[in-house]
Amino acid sequence: MDIENLMIEILCDILDADASEITKESYLIRDLDAESIDLLELAVNINQQFSIDVIEDDLFLRQLRLFIDEANERNIDLSTYLKTKYPFLENDRIAEIIADVNLGPVLKVKDLIHYVSINT
């Protein structure tokens, strides 16, 4: 099974959702109502299913707002700074995140898939 399908299967199990409700573009928190305990279980499952060590702060973009503040305080280009912090995200995705961040938690299913892809 490829990474995307396995990831969606894991999410369906944890969030008690139907696969038809989850796409790569789904927001974990905004759309799928994932809570902190769900994210913990997700990290455990990713670690187990894909045999990778998960750094949860990175995987779930937990320090995103802190990094944005740091970049602003230091007058550093935000895209470049975020790329150094989240190398598994592509430039287009970082631009998307910057445009989207004020609307709520930005983490999407595709971010998890990219994280796993880079680390396997």
Binding site: I37, L40, E41, V44, N45, N47, Q48
Partner: protein, 244 residues
């Protein structure tokens, strides 16, 4: 009552103590596979001397030194496979009046008993979460709520450890991982035995718990019958701490 267990493998942390070894023997009789931890060669030898001949192949041992965080990382993944049960007996020994305590000793004591325990529980609770099944019993003490002079650090550590277990039950209970702490009173075993040798009197004698009673209670708390107990502390002391 015949106790039923939906899991098979049980980690006994502090497994080289008298009660840990006795519990392991009882577990084997109920078809559980205990993994007894030891902190040094002396502990391992003690386990083997009581277990090897009669229970060969029915138990495992594991190095886990609460004063060395690296031993957590050294635990092989196989130790977590299908691990359903955890029983935690470990408590370092540091008795001192608060006003007379050595700062370094206090620091070491809490590092060993709390920092190490938190790291271990993180690891084990994640393994149990992955299986959506886990049961932890922390063997606490009535000293957590009614300590004697000199037991301030012991009591503080016990209460803090109880809080860690309580929160795991709160946080992961709905995902199948539950916890309970058992506050045992005076037990004629280990450290309690030494205390009782110097302080025995008739009223106290009547409140003594036998090692068999405590281990049978632990087994019950691990069993499917006790799944309704979660994120809570239970007192087992023959009423000792209820009176004056």
């Amino acid at each position: 009552m015949k106790l039923e267990f939906s899991g098979e493998r049980a980690l006994i942390v502090g497994g080289s103590c008298e009660m840990g070894i006795y519990l392991a023997q009882k577990m084997i009789e109920t078809k559980l596979h205990p993994i007894l931890t030891f902190r040094n060669d002396s502990g391992r030898n003690r386990i083997l001397s009581h277990m090897k001949d009669r229970y060969e192949g029915s138990f495992s041992t594991l190095l886990l030194n609460f004063s060395d965080l690296n031993t957590i990382e050294m635990i092989p993944k196989s130790a977590y496979d299908q691990l359903t049960y955890l029983v935690d007996f470990v408590e370092g020994n540091y008795e001192s009046l608060i006003a007379g305590a050595c700062n370094d000793s206090v620091n070491d004591y809490f590092l060993n008993n709390l920092v190490f325990r938190a790291a271990l529980l993180k690891k084990i609770s994640r393994a149990m979460l992955a299986c959506k099944k886990g049961r932890m019993v922390y063997v606490s003490s009535t000293a957590a709520i009614r300590q004697n002079p000199g037991q301030g650090f012991y009591a503080a550590s016990k209460q803090a450890a109880e809080a860690l277990y309580r929160n795991i039950g709160l946080e992961l209970g709905d995902r199948g991982v539950t916890t309970v702490s058992l506050r045992a009173g005076y037990v004629n075993s280990g450290r309690g035995k030494k205390y009782l040798l110097n302080n025995i009197n008739e009223p106290l004698n009547r409140k003594l718990l036998k090692i068999e009673h405590v281990t049978e209670t632990i087994l019950f708390l691990l069993s499917d019958s006790a799944e309704g107990f979660n994120a809570i502390e239970l007192v087992m002391d023959r009423g000792l701490t209820s009176g004056k």
